[in-house]
Symmetry: C2
Subunit: 342 residues, 2 copies
Amino acid sequence: MCSLKIKDIGEQGLLKILQKFCPPEIIGDDAAVINTQDGKSLVVTTDMLVDNIHFSENTTSPEDVGWRATAANLSDIAAMGASPLGITVGLGLPGDLSVSWVERLYQGMTECLGKYNAVIVGGDVVRSPNITVSITAFGQVNPTRTIRRDNAKVGDAIVVTGVHGASCAGLELLINPTIGQNLIQADREALIRAHQRPKPRLDVIPILWKILDSQLANHLTSPAGMDTSDGLADAILQICRASGVGAIVEGEKIPLPVAFNNFNNWLTQEEALEYALYGGEDFELVLCLPQQPADKLVRQLGGSAAIVGTITIGSTVILRNQYLGDPDRVLTLSRGFQHFGS
Amino acid sequence: MCSLKIKDIGEQGLLKILQKFCPPEIIGDDAAVINTQDGKSLVVTTDMLVDNIHFSENTTSPEDVGWRATAANLSDIAAMGASPLGITVGLGLPGDLSVSWVERLYQGMTECLGKYNAVIVGGDVVRSPNITVSITAFGQVNPTRTIRRDNAKVGDAIVVTGVHGASCAGLELLINPTIGQNLIQADREALIRAHQRPKPRLDVIPILWKILDSQLANHLTSPAGMDTSDGLADAILQICRASGVGAIVEGEKIPLPVAFNNFNNWLTQEEALEYALYGGEDFELVLCLPQQPADKLVRQLGGSAAIVGTITIGSTVILRNQYLGDPDRVLTLSRGFQHFGS
């Protein structure tokens, strides 16, 4: 056992082992919730990025590295139903990195933070052979108003707050500039922008709480939800597993980027759906709540927000795709077919 | 300018440049203080450690790496006068590192946290070519009860909460086991222990606030202070600079480890003083407060707590060493003589 290596069990395997060192009540959501003495709760989340593993000079400018890392953390704050306060930044940097690279990184971080009234409140800078960026974000939440994964109820509508698949398609276009030649320039740029400058959906939170506050008492419980940083399929499956429920997801109701409609021999509809379900890093929210407030939320959010399915009894998540005439299939974490472009 | 490298300006130079991205009111202390909506303040601090730069397998077990990293962050929380809530841990790990190394790291972290009623509330684990440990600690403080560097007043006594020089001497003994041969075993072990298992002085905070609460109204302002992670000389000089005052430090009043008294040809008194002033990582507190509460604090803390000097008008910090018959000299950030053992 002593010689067991991290590569043998992977990062997820290691995280499971390390959970024994954490209080069990604060594990399993996008961010930890800590009750402070005065009845308010603090929400904390942390992410580490390493050069050549999580980002690359080829696809991501330092400003975009800063924006994306910040957006990912703020998205975790949104996924808990909280309001952001600030972030700390730990930086490991090689001595021969240019100072302007670091300034541009901070520029991207503060641009993103500025849009959501949050600030950099401190950090640490150390020497390291590899560029390493460690961000911890914290926010505030009313303890009776948190979004948790384990709160989905049979009959709830499944709301997604926007399109899926854009970030992954944008990354694909950056890595392989020869693909998608028939895409019009504006669509190509929109996809790339979705990858480089994702928007955490903090705007959804006050709208959501306002709708729920106006509901009758029997709807006053908090919704289930999480963000789609690891993909839409992952988010729906995790919510269902944590809540002990199943779901039916209507494939044709999943909102796709406009560029996906201009297929032009670029993506089949099956491939477009795969991007949407498994692409990841769109940083939208999946929220499960009763039909009436769900309808209201989708209407008030506008844009591409949509109800994509329903929570059901059991534990199976069914993907229904009537548009393609496919039979129902079971939604899993693994893609059903070969990944486009690889 | 574009080609300016980080190694050209150093980490401190880079931090100065990056300050323009942070709100000015939260820069310059051991931790950031953020006012939350309800009148309580959140205190946040972050530290990053990189293998072979901040720790080494030769001198530090994984448990000790975990303990020391945690203690350093909790010390920053104490230095603000706050109570700890928890920490997040970002880990960058090579794939061929053993899982048990990481478990032992967490063991050390939770041992330290357990002593101070704090917990690990989350984190991230990613692949990295180098072991990287990024800890963010947060605590709570009453906004009218924070310890800041810029609050020292002429006439204040300078209190140190314990001995200085032990951690650095312990590290020296680990690196060069041949030195200090005449040290008795218990003294040697105490010094090494001081390096491997430093204790953040969170115990001082409730005692300090209790004394200040019992003072008359004219003493009700908060004290100045910081921790001595970067050395005692550094702490006193930083407080004086931030407060726009000078000081007289009585060299012979600085509490030294017991082992330093058994000189046995190991350390001259001049060298012992140098360890105490410049060694660093003792994680004690330096506090500046009026004479009467300072006396009370030293008495109630017991142990090696002592008043080592007085805040004066001006900007010069004088080191007085009557015991050695030295003339007064100006205390600076650079050591006055060659570092022992190097």
